[in-house]
Amino acid sequence: MPKDSGIGASSKRREDIRFLTGDGNYTDDINIHGQAYVHFLRSDVAHGTLNSVNTDAAAAMDGVVKIFTGTDFEAVGSIPCGWQVTDKHGEVMQEPRHPVLAHGKVRHVGEPIAAVVADTPEQARDAAEAIEVDISELPAVIDMKEAVRDGAPKVHDDLTGNLCYDWGFVEENKGAVDAAFEKAAHVTTLELVNNRLVANPMEPRVAVGDFARSTGDYTLYTTSQNPHVIRLLMGAFVLGIPEHKLRVVAPDVGGGFGTKIFHYQEEAFVTFAAKACNRPVKWTSSRSEAFMSDAHGRDHVTKIELALDADNNFTALRTDTYANMGAYLSTFAPSVPTWLHGTLMAGNYKTPLIYVNVKAVFTNTVPVDAYRGAGRPEATYQLERLVDKAAHELGVDPIKLRRQNFVTEFPYATPVAVEYDTGDYIATMDKLEEMADVAGFAARRQESEAKGRLRGFGVNCYIEACGIAPSNLVGQLGARAGLYESATVRVNATGGLVVMTGSHSHGQGHETSFAQVVAEMIGIDESMVEIVHGDTDRVPMGMGTYGSRSLAVGGSAMVRATEKIIAKARKIASHLLEASETDVELKDGAFTVAGTDKSVAWGDVTLAAYVPHNYPLEEIEPGLEETAFYDPANFTYPSGAYACEVELDPETGQVTVERFFAADDFGNIVNPMIVTGQVHGGLAQGIGQALMENCTYDADGQLLSASYMDYAMPRASDLPFYDVDHSCQTPCTHNPLGVKGCGEAGAIGSPPAVVNAVLDAMRSGGKDVSHIDMPVSPHRVWEAMNS
């Protein structure tokens, strides 16, 4: 019987009520009396010298409060980067200055040049049109390989070139890897592109800055996945505001997918301008602005090679990747193609020798950073495409080749520095084969062919590393932040609890699932637990939500804090029960003396904590409030096996995903309904990447896909129902909940299955194409079929 509450129950989401009735409180819903509005004038050229910005005419227009340009920010810090990568020669990466408003040069279409603050949004926009900008256009570098050629135009004149870093991992293994390739019985090689994407949370970014002159206190309301990180980065590095004078609030946030992790210029601007204008200042991004100012994702060009012995065992793997950084280093950009990508190249396989090279490159494009999966989809895509290609070259079944090379014993130390604690890749593959009815495929293919369609079947496996940590390790790897999480549990006198978590929910349903955990630990009703997040004045310093870390890290902090609460409550209870602490047990919301019917209810204990008349004051303080900071011992390693069936119309090249199967191992699960929903959303984004999404620049650096009429967002009619299973569960061994994280799996695991299925369909139509790049648009498929 499924549980109806607590850990393991599909509790309905409490946050749904406000979202379903129009009562959510998103940042754009926040209006402060007297606020002004900012409109950013953005560069319409990709690269140029900024000769002058004449604001005279604009400043005289109705409603204009003040106009800002780059010179106003000369004394202000650079937008900081939160991760410093050290290259294969031991040198630190090149790190350019990233101004709030462009100064001297513009480096990508969309870079803000000037900002007009006015009484109304319309007045700000009208005045921005009257600003005269004189730019001498320079040749733009868009293609990464062109950007690193000798003599290429430099994005940053003060850097040695456009190479941010050249990273080798593990550099000491390179000789052994090359030697293994020399001895290989078979080598499979693949060159591919991991297409550039735009995260596109449905809520565009918004920032509202406020400044109280009488106290010197700043408040920033912003669409962030991690308000404390913004407070630290913006306060300490950009504006010089001490944290106790700066409050950052991220209220209801309409999706993030990574792109709302980062600290953006617009946040610093509204905070700065609120003081300069002595008025609250609000910025609401349009979708068009979002396309050219939200950090983009993916954009790798890779050559990958697999060495196999005569028995088809993987003996070595090496990769050579170019990773686009865009024009500036977004907050965590350098970590994505390195520590979130290179460390995952072993995949689910026991390949003994691996070498990964990554060249990170500056181009005249929007900065690129983490997007759902962040480095792990790129690793999974290249590896799982390559394994499929090897299977076809060798004439063996792709599933069999995978099974033969699976890691089967845990813990398993990969040759790329990480140790998988648990997993069962055979179990998820078994489950997948059962779900997907592999045996019935031939009949389904016949049915498709009878309609003049080709049908293809593709599989892949994936492994990911979630819950990024531990802090002392990531510090060695270049992180400029700790990656713990915090929680404060405040128990009220009448027994209800408020949990203040450093994790941030922007669609994940933490208010429901986190409450399930705490309620279960104490044995009380979920409705007695309230979850608070997203406000630096209310919750302790926390690192926020990304990398599928909320439950594994934030949930663990909450468990630790709740354990402290229970320990203290037990002391109080043992006093009230006049029993030894060791004899008192907590069950179903009451403390009972073991083996007796003597008990005291949770609410009586909490009341005693705040009305300590009969209380061991000489031993413990009154009150019941505890905080925990949890720093994990390792990453978590969710894994799984995915399968896709496509139909392909050879006349048009149109591909439709007919069936999609996901067998995941997320360890223990708190709310199966929410977990399933997370997988669904990830699958849609992965299928979107594989089939239709593509962020495209022309050779001059003009962004060609800057609206929903040009960037193909998946619609309901583009996607199938998904078949999702998470019954294979190998609990994480090093966090108290045994959970692994589920937020990114779908996006990581689905693109290779789709493309492998498309290639299978094409083969069945007599066209043995070994490679096609994403998105597998009708145009590309038709060309491949007719080449």
Partner: protein, 161 residues
């Protein structure tokens, strides 16, 4: 500035607007009905769908002055006065048809318009009807399921979970 007067969720509402003021701006900024959202600037995303004289309309594609005298319904008027969710809203919660909630008001309003015209749609009809509503969180699976359930149809045949 022009005066506009309309009925919104059964109550009379009026205000002074510029000629270029969109209906969605009037609802959000003048009336404070912030449940109707703006997710794009090309009338693609559908987060701003409301009903005007019983028809689903993207409130970003209609001027406030065009709605003068109209009967407008928004997400804020969908639940009963005591807070009880309507059938579609309840189905969205029951079937986890929303995550971040930003597209949700538009989805609910579109679904209501669909079921009014076509009380027992097929899955394909639901998916086709939602072409003007983009969701980035759910992959649409549970939205389609919720709408099918709200129509009173058996959803047992829809893929596991």
């Amino acid at each position: 500035m022009t005066q506009v007067k309309m009925t919104v969720n059964g109550k009379t509402a009026s205000g002074h607007v510029e000629g270029r003021t969109l209906l969605v701006q009037f609802l959000r900024e003048d009336l404070g009905l912030t449940g109707t959202h703006v997710g794009c600037d090309t009338s693609q995303c559908g987060a701003c769908v409301v009903h005007v004289n019983g028809q689903a309309v993207k409130a970003c594609s209609m001027l406030a002055v065009e709605a003068d005298g109209a009967d407008v319904a928004t997400i804020e008027g969908q639940a009963a006065a005591d807070g009880t969710l309507n059938t579609i809203q309840q189905a969205f919660q029951d079937h986890h048809g929303l995550q971040c909630g930003f597209c949700t008001p538009g989805m609910v309003m579109s679904a209501a318009a669909l079921l009014k015209d076509n009380p027992k749609p097929t899955v394909a009809e639901v998916r086709h009807y939602l072409d003007g509503n983009i969701c980035r969180c759910t992959g649409y699976h549970n939205i389609v399921k919720a709408i099918m359930a709200a129509s009173g149809q058996d959803i047992g045949a829809i893929a596991a979970e």
